[in-house]
């Protein structure tokens, strides 16, 4: 195999919200911009673009990561899920309903990142304590709600999944 040559643009192929996709991307484009601009997934919100606010959080190979701190070309070969994919699959329907019921958003800017972060936490199973929920969302800034309603919504969802035997620990 020929040695790897440095490039300024590369082909990227990955699984995006359940579908195989490919494109060419400038290497300097971060994953958040790639998802928004090349695939129209504007649920990937860009707040700070330096890893602090959490609004751009997506799942890469099942793990929550900052889309602004990964290069788009690094998605090559991975499985990426955004809030759009999680919504369409119905896998966080209960969580979204709980956010609605608890009024866990106001302006909604942080909400995609909150949902993705909570999705990873809930996928670990069990019923996390409120302190654990707060730890989990500590990297997601919300300037409207004061967080309490968000913690309520995540806790409610975890309890309901556990009661229904839907949590991974069952």
């Amino acid at each position: 195999m020929a040695p790897e040559a440095p490039e300024r643009e590369r082909a990227v192929a990955f699984t995006l919200n359940g579908e195989s996709v490919r494109c060419r991307a400038p290497v300097r484009t971060h994953l958040g911009d790639l998802l928004r601009d090349a695939f129209g997934l504007t649920g990937v919100h860009l707040g700070c673009e330096h890893g602090v606010c959490g609004a751009c959080t997506v799942l890469v190979d099942g793990r929550a990561v900052r889309a602004c701190l990964m290069l788009g070309v690094q998605a090559d070969g991975t499985v990426v899920e955004t809030v759009e994919g999680l919504t369409e699959s119905g896998s966080i329907r209960d969580l979204q309903d709980a956010f609605h019921a608890r009024n866990a958003l106001q302006c909604g800017y942080c909400t995609p990142g909150m949902l993705v972060t909570a999705a990873e936490l809930l996928a670990e199973g069990g019923v996390p304590e409120r302190a654990a929920i707060r730890d989990a969302i500590a990297g997601n800034y919300c300037r409207c709600t004061g967080y309490h309603a968000i913690v309520d919504a995540i806790a409610t969802t975890a309890e309901a999944r556990h009661a229904a035997g839907r949590d991974a620990a069952e």
Binding site: H30, G51, L69, L71, V73, A138, G139
Partner: protein
């Protein structure tokens, strides 16, 4: 904010990565987890000509144990360091430090090798390496080098790494059966960089402590082993240890916090950690006494 223009390569082997770094000199930068580097790029604080992505190189991630040494591959994500069974069982100091590293999404992506190579003085892994007597394993174009943590961290974002070298692993000797440990960190908000932090290890000896290692972070230009304070703890004098920090630490002052306040915080957490270490020592003494057979 968007990153400046750069070239990118994703080599499939360590040799290929080293060849790229050698060919491009100081214009090339290895990309590990990227949680600090991509931030610096996005903020245009860094403008390398070439990023050499280490993420596709096999064999650089994972935690293993052999011959009394735990080897943590450089590309092991923070989260996977803390989750490794041998870490949880035998290196609980690392598991205790993990939740203090930024946030879950950062811990899912950032790596121990990247953290060690960056050598941010306010971060957890470098101090843990010092406390645990770790060895940093690095590979250059010609050979592998093994550098004791005490010789590795040289200053602000400065290490013993030579140009063209890559951190490949951190090796930590398994603590002896009588080991105790303590960890404390003060930050303004969960996940922030430490205002003052302390990773400590020791061995119990009767109701006292020996081999005390106190690695402070966030209070200097690098993680600092406070040797005089450690000697005072071994002598059982916590107040003397706290007093000794005035000569051993040279904390930075900034508009958010005066140097004197940081020193005070370092003394506060030393008091807490000393309590933890001494409690571990006396608990062990009690359990041995209770065992009857003196095992």
């Amino acid at each position: 904010m968007k990153a400046p223009d750069f070239a990118y390569a994703r080599p499939a082997s360590l040799d290929e990565a080293l060849a790229l770094l050698a060919a491009h000199g100081e214009d090339a930068v290895p990309l590990a987890g990227g949680q600090s580097l991509v931030t610096a790029l996005n903020m245009r604080l860094s403008a390398p000509g070439l990023l050499v992505d280490l993420n596709a190189i096999p064999g650089l991630a994972g935690v293993s144990e052999a011959d009394g040494v735990v080897r943590i591959g450089a590309m092991t994500r923070h989260r996977d360091v803390g989750a490794a069974p041998v870490v949880r069982a035998r290196l609980p100091l690392l598991a205790a430090a993990l939740p203090h590293i930024a946030h879950p999404a950062i811990r899912n992506r950032g790596t121990i090798g990247g953290s060690v190579a960056l050598a941010d003085p306010a971060t957890e892994w470098p101090a843990c390496c010092l406390a645990l007597g770790a060895t940093v394993v690095v590979r250059g174009p010609e050979a592998e080098r093994r550098i004791a943590a005490e010789e590795f961290f040289l200053g602000l974002y400065t290490t013993a790494l030579e140009p063209g070298e890559i951190v490949t692993a951190v090796e930590i000797p398994l603590p002896p059966a009588d080991a105790v440990w303590g960890f404390e960190e003060l930050a303004r908000r969960h996940g922030d960089y430490a205002l003052a932090g302390l990773a400590a290890t020791a061995r119990r000896s009767g109701g006292g402590l020996t081999a005390v290692r106190l690695a402070f972070f966030g209070v200097g230009d690098r993680p600092v082993l406070a040797r005089a304070a450690a000697a005072a703890i071994e002598a059982g004098d916590v107040q003397a240890a706290q007093a000794a920090l005035a000569d051993e630490l040279d904390p930075p002052g900034d508009p958010a916090m005066r140097a004197a306040t940081r020193l005070h915080l370092a003394r506060v957490i030393l008091g807490r950690v000393a309590g933890t270490l001494l409690a571990g020592a006396s608990m062990a003494g009690a359990s041995m006494a209770g065992d009857g057979d003196g095992a």
